[in-house]
Amino acid sequence: MENTKNQIAKVMSLVFQVPIESITEDSSTDNIESWDSIKHLNLILALEEEFSITIPDEEAGNLVNYKLIEMIVNECKK
């Protein structure tokens, strides 16, 4: 589980081009300035490759903060 958390933080920091230390459980579209619609697309593609999962279309729009990302990634990994 810890590993998944770290991996998500790593992917977010790489996609949004922010330091990995700045990614917390409270990170969201509200406090990461570079998180725009294009970066959001890249985030989904990156997470899918990272965890070898497919995020369903109806969930893709919901990945707006760290906690939701973790929840949906874990859901998809099952």
Binding site: L41, N42, A46, D57
Partner: protein, 580 residues
């Protein structure tokens, strides 16, 4: 590249970001769909080839408008996808609608090609119908439509445009792996990451060629690389490269490929731990060998370590280590070279032999630029003459004596439009004897030739050992501020004619030409690169006065009236007048 996941690419790309210096290579990507995920993948693929990229993405569905805005890019890529051209059910389209849609797209193609016609290099993806489901047995309307658009593109495109067959990428990945309809539906972003990775690999040879980084030499190990078996242990009779045998046929094919490449101007060489005599014996006398000594420009067959041998091969051929691709069956040798000389691309023969020929071919199309012109086809021969000249050199006491014995003849022409391709190629490939290292495409050279203020001079060189072909170039430009000043924009020579004082004869000619065209003075510059140190004092040795030296970048001036010609008597010069 295709083995890396996106987060690794992002990570590696940002790690490399500050280490790649050098001139910026700007790429503009124009598209009628969203292609933003290509940016970092493309940047990374350039950075690992030591190119410093700037990738700019155009606006969504703005190909026509954006094609006006990329004047200063070195490369323009056009993604014109059928998905976003057709949003109705195409098969039921009336003839009238079909024709009006076709004429609309053709007009857009015309406008884009017109806007990009002076551009140095453009990649235009072909149209594809593979995103649309169709019958196996009948041509669908959309297939017909796409076919017509591609024919139209082919007819209308200029020499600066390369059509990239996107269907080949779809074929390799499968359409469902290449197109993500979910993302197309939500964000107009149809292409998957896998597609972009394959795509950047597909265009790699184009930007390598444009930046003078195409590979030049393919060096093979011998045992279990060119034939099955070990000559020193099994003996010549046990070696297998027969077209008719179970494993021999793959080596036969490798040899066929090597022979083909030698005709396409790729230098073929051998680097093998063996007794030289044994290998020569195989080359000369094994009846199944189709790769012969005449195809091989360079050999290192000895028991020294291969890193050392490859370095000495690069020195003999006068090419950079980053111009070499090395093939060997031994994982030990491959990892040795990868560790000691990472600039060399080293390829290990696949253990499944039936994969070997295709594996080699894929890498050849990836790293080499195969378009053949007359010069390339003769390259092996020219490199051989080079070694004969080197041998002859030892027979003469002074260099002058030796040079005069060569009976060198130069033929100089101005504005020789027939040589467009070769001239552009020389500006792209020449690194060592190149004062300014400015790269030009065919289109740019054509513009220079057509200008009254700018002149392209090309030099054919031959001697008693053979014809070196077109091997020196200079571009002169009238100063924009002062019509009495002529600037030497480019002065370069291929490395195969270095060391014969040809540069001085050429300079004598240029200054004489400049004087006869009523210029009072000449300006010139030396722009330092990692490879052109040997010419850093070239202008000094021709009597030019150094005006400014900014960190090695030197500017010169010469009054035409004070130039002292070298008048080298043992080189004969002909001036060829081009009728235009």
């Amino acid at each position: 590249m295709e083995n890396l996941i996106y987060s690794e690419i992002l990570q590696n790309n940002s790690a490399l970001k500050d280490s790649i210096k050098g001139p910026v290579y700007k790429i503009s990507v124009l598209s009628n769909v969203v292609v933003h995920s290509i940016k970092e993948i493309l940047e990374y693929s350039l950075r690992i080839r030591q190119i410093n990229p700037l990738v700019e993405l155009g606006n969504y569905d703005n190909i026509v408008q954006d094609s006006l805005k990329c004047k200063d890019s070195h490369l323009v890529i056009v993604f014109f996808d059928m998905l976003n051209i057709v949003d109705v059910f195409f098969e039921d389209l009336s003839e009238e609608m079909y024709n009006s849609l076709k004429s609309k797209i053709c007009t857009e193609i015309d406008t884009v090609l017109e806007n990009l016609k002076d551009h140095p290099s453009v990649i235009f993806n072909t149209f594809s119908s593979h995103c649309f489901v169709s019958s196996y047995s009948q041509q669908s309307l959309i297939e017909k439509f796409v076919g017509q658009l591609n024919v139209y593109l082919e007819e209308k495109k200029g020499i600066n445009v390369i059509l990239l067959n996107i269907d080949k990428i779809f074929l390799q990945t499968g359409i469902r792996q290449a197109i993500d309809f979910r993302m197309y539906n939500s964000s107009k972003a149809p292409y998957t990451l896998l597609f972009f990775k394959k795509y950047t690999m597909a265009i790699e040879p184009i930007f390598l060629k444009n930046t003078g980084k195409s590979k030049k030499a393919l060096i093979f190990d011998c045992d279990n690389t060119l034939w099955k078996g070990i000559v020193g242990e099994d003996g010549i009779d046990k070696l297998d490269m027969s077209r008719l045998s179970h494993s021999g046929r793959f080596f036969y094919k490798i040899q066929e490929i090597a022979v083909y490449l030698s005709k396409k101007g790729i230098i073929i060489g051998l680097c093998s731990k063996n007794n030289e005599f044994d290998v020569i014996e195989v080359l000369k006398n094994h009846s199944d060998m189709i790769l012969k000594e005449e195809h091989i420009a360079v050999k290192r067959i000895n028991w020294e370590d291969k890193a050392k041998n490859l370095i000495s091969i690069a020195a003999e051929l006068n090419i950079g280590l980053d111009s070499i691709v090395f093939v060997d069956d031994s994982s030990f040798e491959i990892s040795l070279i990868q560790k000691q000389i990472p600039e060399i691309v080293s390829l290990q023969v696949p253990s499944a032999l039936y994969e070997y020929p295709d594996f080699l071919l894929q890498n050849i199309y990836r790293y080499f630029s195969l378009k053949a012109n007359a010069e390339d086809a003769r390259k092996t021969e020219i490199y051989k003459q080079q070694s004969e000249r080197e041998k002859e050199k030892q027979n003469y006491k002074t260099l002058e004596e030796y040079l005069s014995s060569l009976e060198i003849v130069l033929t100089i022409s101005e504005g020789d439009i027939k040589q467009l391709e070769r001239i552009a190629q020389l500006t792209q490939k020449t690194n060592q004897f190149n004062l300014t290292t400015k790269r030009y495409t065919e289109t740019e050279i054509l513009h220079i030739m057509n200008s009254d203020q700018e002149h392209v001079f090309s030099v054919f060189v031959k001697d008693k050992f053979g014809d070196n072909g077109l091997t020196a170039i200079s571009i002169l430009k009238t100063d924009r501020q002062n019509q009495k000043i002529c600037n030497i924009d480019t002065f370069l020579m291929s490395c195969r004619i270095i060391g014969r004082n040809i540069e001085f004869v050429f300079m004598d000619y240029l200054v004489q030409w400049i004087a006869s065209h009523n210029f009072a003075s000449i300006t010139s510059e030396y722009i330092p690169t990692a490879k052109n140190r040997q010419v850093q004092d070239f202008y000094e040795s021709n009597g030019f006065i150094l005006i400014e030296n900014k960190e090695g970048h030197k500017n010169y001036r010469l009054e035409v009236s004070v130039y002292k010609p070298k008048n080298i008597s043992y080189i004969t010069t002909f001036i060829s007048v081009i009728k235009r």
